[in-house]
Amino acid sequence: MSAPRERFVQVAGGACRIWEKGEGEPLGVVPGLGGCPRWTPFLDALAEQRRVVVTSLPGFSGSDDQHRLLDGHLDWVAATLDLLEAAELAGADLVAASVGAMLAAEVAALAPGFVRRLVLTSPYGLYDNDAPGENVFSALPSEVVSIQTEQPAKYEQAFEAPEDPEESAEWQLRQYRASEAAARIVWPFGERGLAKRLHRIRIPVLLLWGEKDRIQPPAYAKLFASGLAGPVETKIVPGAGHQLWIDEPEAAARAVRSFLA
């Protein structure tokens, strides 16, 4: 895998990292839990056909700590919109995951025409009292990996700290920051009222889910599908957990490509 082009945009009082790779029509990416500290095979597969523009929300990998200035859901939604605009993604297709997918869905609901087509991968945003998922933030240290992925080796490749002690310390702090930012967005239930706004999403949506997602179980796909107003496709990827892009990058990329074909 060759390295992506890197640039930074100013959002909500700090820098947010943008990675780009590939040529052609832009395809925006909004990562989820843990952010995107390394370029991954999933992104590479998308970049074969499109110019992939990977954004990083405030506080997530490569961004500053301006997440601490965002005090509520509206602040986060506005910051997401700012980020996507700064990344020149207005009117583009978006692929988003997890907590990032919740915010991408809000943008699609509140800014008609801003998103062309939307892929929501294991999105946060809805909470079913009778079927709650597991809370990643209260996982035991021994469960933090297994709760997110069915492919621990691939997960380590994506998230494990480098060996050099100093780089490792910085890396751990960055990942701690990303985790804090995610918690800031969704604590304590993983939803902020999106259910009341799903009907405003009239664009084509692909609901892409890991069959073994323990955090946002695949049953939530039905809840999303029933609330969305436009054409909806649902694709459940066997054997994958919440970190679907990490667990099954080829299958995930195939599903995205086929939806956007």
Partner: protein, 418 residues
């Protein structure tokens, strides 16, 4: 030196099998282990113990705040302090809650503390903890990433509510209150002394140093575990050019006194084993909500992982359960509990106070399932034979600027005839 009687009010009746059968005494404590009729006796026993401590001459009575927690049964320490305000006479009432960010609106804390100050005739010491991750982020679902900023803002609001003579508006990030004008106002002016219970974050060192508050390190694991933390506070004070007045720090220490060391080892083993092996059975699941520890503190922790201080801090916060299986001798050796004859205990406490430059010792005289009878025995020996050996330390060199200044003619409860 000021000597306090401090008590977590642990639930005293957990079954011995609790740690094997249940995940945690905190947050997910199964309610079936709690007997509310016992709590009637226990609250009264705990209040009796504090009243006894007041009667034998402790300077301070300390209560604190925990939620959904079997080792701390006082979700509202204010209620305990209110009860204590009636029958105690001279001790200061140290309320080491209220976790400011948990109260909505936070000026509720200004009101209740003002009431306590008035009820007690100006004997209140106001404690403002951030609160443990369990209390704040899990039991009260506060967003861990917002917690500290909410705490700072609530602190500013409470201080203004106490000190601004006029009705005012508070337009904060998290709290918008158009009309703040509390009744009553505290007796102590400009406000009751403020003590901050701390868990070792770098921000709290700075906060206490900056605002001239007492820094109280609340550890369950004794003076050795607090050494590096207290030093961190003094380093911060020095960096800010402030004087090292020992009365600006306090530490918690478990203590068991008897006529001889052997007798003390015998008398206090059960309560210590119960507390450290049973009451503190806490799941690490509830310890690290992301953002609770600030990046600066996380950085310090990561960078100093090889250091003993970090190991001990880790011990304290992350793996209380790993302490299980400690023998009582081990606990004594590691300083969790100071044990001995009155002279031995006085000697040890003197050494701790002087070496760490700590002017307020908050002594845990009742812990775990210790009976009130034994707690009173412990308190009496401390008050009569330990305290006199300690109270002059620092007294000539330093002024204690953080103790209450009560009214001289305080109202007392009227006698009743039935």
């Amino acid at each position: 030196m000021k000597i306090g009687n401090f008590n977590l009010m642990s639930y005293r009746h957990l079954p011995e099998s609790f740690p094997e059968k249940h995940e945690s005494v905190y947050i997910s404590l199964p309610s079936e282990v709690l007997d509310s009729a016992q709590m009637n006796r226990d609250y009264n026993a705990s209040l009796d113990e504090h009243e006894f401590a007041d009667s034998v001459g402790f300077d301070i009575l300390g209560v604190n705040e925990h939620h959904s927690n079997g080792y701390g049964m006082m979700p509202s320490p204010n209620l305990m302090a209110a009860a204590l305000s009636r029958r105690t006479r001279d001790s200061s009432l140290l309320v080491l809650g209220n976790s400011l960010a948990l109260y909505n609106p936070p000026h509720r804390v200004a009101e209740e503390f003002a009431m306590l100050d008035c009820m007690s005739g100006g004997r209140l010491i106001a404690g403002f903890p951030v609160g443990t991750p369990m209390d704040t982020c899990y039991a009260y679902s506060t967003n861990p990433s917002e917690l500290r900023d909410r705490y700072y803002e609530a602190h500013d609001l409470v201080m203004q509510a106490w000190t601004r003579p006029e009705m005012f508006s508070f337009h904060g990030r998290f709290n918008q209150e158009r009309y703040v004008n509390i009744t009553p106002r505290p007796i102590q002016k400009p406000h009751p002394p403020v003590w901050i219970p701390a868990g070792g974050s770098v921000e709290t060192w700075h906060f206490c140093a900056k605002h001239d508050y007492v820094y109280c390190y609340l550890t369950y694991f004794g003076y050795l575990s607090g050494e590096a933390i207290i030093k961190g506070f003094w380093d911060e004070m020095k960096a800010l050019g402030k004087e090292p007045n020992p009365y600006q720090t306090g530490i918690v220490q478990y203590v068991g006194v008897a006529e001889t060391r052997e007798e003390a080892l015998d008398l206090y083993a059960e309560a210590a084993n119960y507390f450290f092996n049973n009451s503190l059975h806490t799941s690490p699941r509830w310890v690290n909500p992301p953002g609770y520890v600030t990046e600066a503190t996380a950085r310090k922790k990561i960078m100093s992982q090889v250091q003993e201080a970090a190991r001990r801090a880790e011990l304290r916060t992350n793996s209380m359960s790993e302490l299980r299986g400690q023998t009582f001798e081990g606990m004594v050796e590691q300083g969790f509990v100071v044990i001995g004859s009155p002279d031995e205990v006085a000697e040890k406490l003197k050494e701790i106070a002087i070496s760490q430059n700590v002017g307020n010792l908050l002594l845990m005289t009742q812990f775990g399932n210790m009976s009130t009878e034994l707690a009173k025995y412990n308190m009496e020996l401390i008050a009569k034979r330990v305290k006199p050996q300690l109270e002059n330390i620092f007294a000539n060199e330093w002024e204690h600027r953080w103790m209450p200044t009560p009214l001289a003619d305080r109202a007392q409860p009227a006698e009743l005839t039935r």
